[in-house]
């Protein structure tokens, strides 16, 4: 039974690990999984799984929760030993989030990140589409939202506030 566990199996189990703040995204949507390593003993039995992840933001508190979730899911599937390694370099960027993740965010009501935009101009604002009504007549309220990864916007057309996953 142990011999049939491979990387794909681990991946499908781990796709249930979601971002606690944005539960529509799993860790593959976030693009934080760098590597999955399976270690076998001399009798070819799986004895350890190593998951390498890269943190999104320096102080992201969700990373600890996600690590715990990863560990618990794998232990629940009888993996004898689980190790989670953090790889700081290369640094995570929103560019690692697949297109499918962008669609999930939009449906959830969060404006997805734009792909690589140089944003150091003071008082400059990207044109962000309202995820609720699609209007481009939106306004930045604050670069800092409820979580480190999100900015606050409001739509001048439908008047609803919404969050934008910042480009990073």
């Amino acid at each position: 039974m142990m011999a049939t566990i491979n990387k794909n199996q681990i991946e499908s189990w781990l796709s249930a690990v979601t971002d606690p703040e944005v539960p529509v995204l799993n860790i593959f949507d976030l693009g934080i999984v760098r590597d999955i390593q399976l270690q076998h003993n001399t009798s070819q039995e799986l004895e350890k799984v190593v998951i390498v992840i890269t943190p999104t933001y320096s102080g992201c508190p969700a990373m600890d929760v996600i690590s715990t979730q990863i560990r618990m899911i794998l232990l629940s599937h009888k993996i004898p030993e689980v190790e989670i390694q953090q790889q700081l370099s290369p640094a995570w960027t929103t560019d690692w989030m697949p297109e499918a993740a962008h669609d999930k965010l939009k449906k959830y009501g969060i404006a997805p990140p734009q792909y690589r935009n140089k944003n150091d101009q003071l008082f400059a604002e990207e044109k962000i589409e309202c995820p609720k009504c699609g209007s481009l007549e939106t306004e930045l309220v604050s670069q800092f939202g409820a979580t480190s990864c999100k900015a606050l916007y409001k739509c001048l057309t439908c008047k609803e506030p919404f969050e934008h996953f910042k480009c990073h």
Partner: protein, 273 residues
């Protein structure tokens, strides 16, 4: 004379302590911000700083645990840490953050200055963020792997921090008469603390190949660019600069900061969440 390992440890602590103390100061605004969105902005920025500090303290703890007992005792003079060294215990990131006394901290004096009014907080951040932007832009090229990893992330975050503080300098400077006066005063008060950022500590000089220094001219150019748009003036560019933080000589402020920050760990030793 320190061992090279001790100097590497001290360099790591310089960067980590700046992040921790600045993060702590900004977190003191939580619940007291002038408007909700700015309260949130500051706590977000504080969290970024704390997140930068953590892997650096982990690296520092690793370095300490590899040192000899003599090196450890020469590096730190904090009784609570000495106790752990006597028992030959391995120390962690938490021990470094919560059991060191002020003389073992290596942050610059700027970050321990009090929050004051909104203008003072903005200026303190502006002076620090401008330095960080230039510092991390170089640190991403260092051969020290932990510093490089932290810098890659920190550079992106610091770009947002710098935008925040620069925009507020302009809003307040080129604002009302009162906002202009307050920010001008805050700037005059804090400018003498900016020089220390650019002064290399003895440990930094030993590791100058991996620990970059920020050029004073480049720093002043960035500062002046924003001051101009903010209609602010710098009366004495070459004023006397306060220093001492990097070698453990701190202002009275740090004592109060640590008394609050370290209270739980010292009152309930080895407590866990």
């Amino acid at each position: 004379m320190n061992s090279k390992a001790t100097d590497l440890l001290f360099c790591t602590l310089e960067i980590a302590d700046n992040a921790l103390i600045m993060g702590h100061r900004l977190s003191e605004w939580c619940g007291h911000g002038p408007i909700l969105e700015q309260d949130i902005a500051l706590t977000n920025i504080a969290l970024d700083h704390l997140g930068q500090a953590r892997p650096l303290y982990q690296k520092a703890a690793e370095l300490v645990n590899q040192m000899s007992k003599e090196e450890k005792e020469a590096a730190f003079k904090s009784p609570m840490l000495s106790r752990l060294f006597e028992k030959s215990k391995h120390i962690t990131e938490d021990d470094l953050a919560f059991l060191r006394d002020s003389w073992d901290f290596r942050n610059v004096l700027l970050v321990e200055q009090d929050n004051g009014d909104w203008a003072q907080t903005v200026v303190r951040s502006f002076l620090f963020d401008t330095y960080n932007k230039l510092f991390f832009a170089q640190l991403i090229h260092t051969s020290e792997p932990t510093w490089r990893g932290v810098a890659e992330k920190a550079l992106k975050e610091v770009t947002y921090h710098s935008r925040w503080s620069s925009e507020w300098m302009i809003r307040l400077g080129d604002g009302t008469e009162e906002s202009h006066e307050r920010i001008q005063n805050a700037f005059q008060n804090l400018w003498p603390y900016s020089g220390e950022l650019l002064m290399a500590s003895p440990s930094q000089k030993i590791h100058s190949d991996i620990y970059p220094s920020v050029d004073a001219k480049a720093y002043r150019q960035e500062i002046n660019r924003i001051l101009e748009t903010a209609t602010l003036t710098l009366s004495e560019e070459d004023s006397w600069m306060q220093a001492g933080g990097k070698i453990g000589n701190h202002s009275e402020h740090l004592g109060y900061i640590l008394a609050e920050m370290q209270y739980m760990q010292r009152a309930y030793p080895e407590m866990e969440w």
